[in-house]
Each structure stands twice: as C-alpha cells, then as structure tokens.
Symmetry: C2
Subunit: 247 residues, 2 copies
DNA sequence: CGACCTATTGATACGTATCAACCCGAGTGG
DNA sequence: CCACTCGGGTTGATACGTATCAATAGGTCG
C-alpha cells in the first residue's frame, strides 16, 4: 500500500477546479477562508482512499485524477455507485460513516477539509452551501440516469452509453467534435467498467469487440477508443436523444 | 384524466409531515413565511402529475399518498428512479425541466410552492436550505443503494430487498416488529414493482409465489404481504446486515 | 353477462454469467 | 539474458436466469 502524501499549498485562484468545485460560487474573501483550512493529499493509482464503514472526519474535492465509489456485498459482488472526476466532492456534511469504498483509479490529488471547520463554513458562507446543494442534485440526476442504464439497458447499450458519458465529461469542455472522429482514453480497467455497468469483465470485453467488428468504434491498445461517427454510437446507446449524462 | 383539485389551507403546526419534510428545521416564524406561499393540490390515483420534459414552475412536498418518478425510453422500457412517500420533495431549485414522469400511485396531496418565491425563501431561510441539502444527500444515498440492487442482485434478492425497504419506510416510525410477524400493504402494482426493480411483471409474480412456497412470505390477496420471520427475509435480500435503505 | 384490467402460470428463447483456456506485456530473479 | 510469474484482457463452450410469447384466472365495471 502506497502512502498518502502531503503537498504544498496552492493558490485557490490558480486552482484548476476553481470554477466547478464546491467553491465555485465563492468570492475572494470566502475563498480565503476555505484556503485557510484546506490541505492537499495525494493517493497513488490503485490505493484505497477509504473503506465502506469507515468513520471519515474529512471531506474533499477531487483536484486531479479519477476515483470511484463502490458498494460491495460479502460474496464479492461489487457495484460502482459513483465515478469521481476533478471538481467532484467526497463526503457529506452530517454523516461520518462512509457507505462505500473510495478508490483512487489513477493518481489522485484531493483538496481536503476537516469536517468540523468545513461544516462551520457551510453555515457561514451561503455560497458554499448553495453550490453543494447544486452539486448534490446534479449527482442525484446522474444516479437516476445510471439507474435506467442498470435496470433496463442491454450490455451493448450500456457500453455505448458509458462511452458517450466519458466523451461528454472529458471532451465537452473544449470544443464539439461532431462529425470528426473522437479519440478517447478510458480511465477505467475492464473490471472497473464491469462494476460500473453491472456486467462481468467478460461481457464487457465481448461487447467491445462486437462494437469494433460492427465499425462503431476502433481500439488502440486496451485503453484507447476511437469513435469515427458519434451519431452511430448514439444510436447504439438506447437513448433517444442526448438525455444521458451519467456521472 | 382526473383533474387536480385545490384544497383549503391547513395549519403547518398540525401538518403530518411537519418534522420530516423540507420545513423540518424551520421555526415558527419561518414556517409562517412558507405558509404564506404554499398551496395544496391533490391528484387521483393513476393520474400523471407531470411528464418527462415538462417545464415545471412549482416544487412540492408529498403530504399524503405515494407517487413515483419514472424515466422511459422510446421503445417502452421504463425504469422507476424514485418512490415518493409523505415528506419527500418534488423538483429541484435551479432546474425547471423535468427529467422524468411523476405519477400519483395512490391519491396524492401535495404541499406546493411556486418556484420563484420558494427559491427566494431558500436564500433567506438557511434552515430551509440546510434541510433540503440533507434530503438531497439522503436521496443520493438511497439511489446508490438502489443501483447496487439493479446492477448486482438477483430477482429474488430484489423482491426481498424491496419488501424490507417498504417495511423500513412504513413500519419503523412506530415500533419494532422484530420476532413478531409483520403485515404489509404494498403501495405498488406488479407492473410498478417491475419498473422499480428492473424486472418484468411476470418475473415479479413468479418470485412472489416462489417466496411464498418457500415460506418466506405469505400473501393475502394481491397487495398484502405477511412476513412471519424478518430475519428469514433479510437472509434472502443479499445484504449482509441492514445496510439497505433504498428510497 | 361480457369487456377489461391485473395477476398468475406455462413453454420457450435469448442474453449474460460462469468456467476455462489462452494471450500478452511487464516485472522479477536466477 | 532468458525463464518465470503475474495481472489484465480476450475468446470459447456451456449453464442459468430472466425475458418473451401465450393462455388462463379472478375481479371490477358498465
């Protein structure tokens, strides 16, 4: 197990997630108060950040990297219930017991706060609570979209939906890539994708090759996917329009 | 389609959901401000409260009855994504477009607010926003538990989990019924249960008879379930302990 | 009484899980 | 340097669970 490491403070104003994280609505003064209690922590790829059942006395924003929330049952079955990308929030005010494992999928940097002072600021800084409320509702919408996928979509639709979701969350901020081919690096292993989609690793693998054989995607190695025609992929997702945001 | 009806105002202090709804943390003064803008609306069983894609200019608390949130895709597949019992909240601040159908399963009474004045109060009354934040996180936890059910549980486990969840949400407020048999009235039709669990109506039916033949439950008519031994049912749910809350 | 809706039950098809073999690239150690 | 191992991924054969299609039963309402 790799040790968590502490990092030097970084100015909030130059923070890459400044405008999307829980602090997005804060003004300069408010930011300064958050800055006073924040501390960075990094985790290596594969490291477990916290376990199901742990008592957590910190909350945090993901600054860089990818982490997952997974819930498991004794016989080994696992279901991913959250995919955390930069700006996503870990933990919830008011509850200290964690309901799921939090795992660093790539190297991860967290901007952390001890629970008690953070909850104090939540009361004193309405902007902070407003943003957290927005983010909670966004996650709830994503979770519900995900429920539709888990409950009603076929394996092929699940894979297509996941690819679209990754494209939306990683490529949209920049420019639209409609018409032109999209190149995509998957942040997850086949196993993690299986846990994400409620499938086995073998089924995930088979669907990838099926989609490749049908010309919907191309594969470069195991982690890179090229989407020649986005509309083709959309048609495979089971979603009528662009309703699907996922995580 | 039955028409929605308006009801006379009722005092908040005698409201049955006073201490669990979004207003739970409000003091008398704050309650009065909410009271000034609230209005009741009732819907008959089976009536659709709002459709996927609608622009909603109200938010509301469920006062009595049961409603569902369902998301559908064009070919007819439906997935329930929320089960609304008294005190649950409908709508979200900041978004006006509805992502799912809201349907009254039984006769339903809503305590409604127009969006604009409600959002104003949300800013002016921290207690209101704090409670809404709590509720959003609770729903998020429930949605994630539900994702585990949808993605990884067998049909039998799904049925058992659902029954446990209904017991917890309807019987727990009163007294513990451990050891003694629990009698339970299902709020949902077989079809609604199917949409809840990501199953077909036939599979739901078969699992009910299977659980009955195995002595885990008894059936009285189609809507009443008797659970002679709660632990027996728990053992069928796939959850190790009591981790499952669902909606 | 017949029409209709919900639920049950049966026969069968199909999709995904399971079990197993194999491949490949990266470390590791002799 | 090469044999070995190990983890992640692919592919194949088969089993099993749930969906699908179809027929029937019971209840309610006109």
């Amino acid at each position: 197990m790799v040790q968590a490491m502490l990092q030097e403070h970084v100015s909030c104003s130059s923070c890459p997630i400044r405008h999307r994280a829980v602090c997005a609505k804060c003004d300069t003064d408010e930011l300064e108060r958050l800055n006073a209690i924040k501390f960075y922590k990094t985790y290596a790829a594969g490291e477990t950040i916290a376990y199901q059942g742990d008592e957590l006395d910190v909350v945090a924003s993901v600054v860089s990297g990818v982490a997952t929330l997974e819930r498991g049952i004794e016989d080994g079955r696992m279901q991913m219930v959250g995919l955390l990308l930069p700006s996503d929030f870990i933990g919830r005010p008011g509850r200290t017991i964690l309901n799921y494992d939090v795992t660093a999928v790539s190297d991860v940097t967290l901007c952390s706060f001890h629970r008690q002072p953070f909850e104090q600021l939540l009361i004193e800084i309405p902007h902070l609570q407003e943003r957290l409320l927005q983010m909670a509702f966004d996650e709830l919408d994503a979770a519900r979209e995900w429920m539709l996928l888990l409950g009603r979509k076929t394996a092929r639709e699940k894979i297509a939906s996941m690819l679209i979701s990754v494209v939306k969350r990683t490529h949209l901020p920049e420019g639209q890539s409609l018409g032109t081919a999209t190149r995509l690096e998957l942040p997850l292993s086949r196993e993690a994708m299986g846990n994400f989609l409620g499938l086995t690793i073998e089924t995930v693998s088979r669907q990838f090759t099926a989609l490749r054989k049908d010309g919907v995607i191309e594969l470069e190695g195991k982690r890179v996917v090229i989407i020649p025609d986005m509309d083709l992929l959309l048609a495979e997702s089971g979603d009528d329009d662009d309703g699907g945001l996922l995580a």
